[in-house]
Symmetry: C2
Subunit: 117 residues, 2 copies
């Protein structure tokens, strides 16, 4: 029993760098899990110019806070229209809020935190 980790799940120190998994074809997205908790997952997304397929909408069961850490992107929300994003912009997307990725720059890298309300 270790009082510092009451729930018994220990983590180890780990350093990383956004975009370090750069290998992938243009237009091919990579999803890299970074941290996982009891009620959340944090992942890195390397977009490489990818967009959502035509007619596709994300309709997620969990809330998502997403930061565009590098590059540029355009999101579209079904009921609010287009949102232009530059590096440093972030948005909290409630569960069930339909949205899609209209476009991303080839250097676009995201940090996405998925969590239950």
């Amino acid at each position: 029993m270790n009082s510092q980790f009451p729930s018994g799940r220990m983590v180890e120190m780990r350093k990383g760098r956004l975009g370090e998994h750069e290998k992938g074809r243009p237009g091919e997205e990579s999803f890299i899990p970074r941290v996982q908790g009891h009620d959340f997952e944090l992942e890195e997304i390397i977009s490489r110019g990818a967009a959502s397929p035509e007619g596709f909408w994300y309709d997620q069961e969990r809330n998502e806070w997403v930061l565009l850490a590098k590059g540029e992107a355009i999101l579209r929300f079904e009921d609010e229209g287009v949102m232009e994003m530059k590096a440093g912009d972030h948005v909290l997307i409630p569960a069930g809020k339909r949205h899609r990725v209209e476009s991303t720059s080839v250097d676009a890298v995201w940090v996405a935190l998925h969590f239950r309300g």
Copy 2:
């Protein structure tokens, strides 16, 4: 009862930008809560060149995943020495891992996720 939000906590869509709360004196850190879950908190930290006071060590009860989103910084871990960080670098710091901030650039902005193991 809303099946989309089984735990009953709803979030609203909210857009922001790292560093938008730029007001503060040089060397004065700002901590801006961004998202809160059942077992985590995500905050933005604007460092403005701040460093930990001499002899001070962070010794946190929770794990912390921290991303340097902008600028440069140097962390020191009691048992591992110095870690130089550039924008895009991130590190997972286990609870109880003693560390301090040796230095930050005036434009340093972090995203920190605190969570229990």
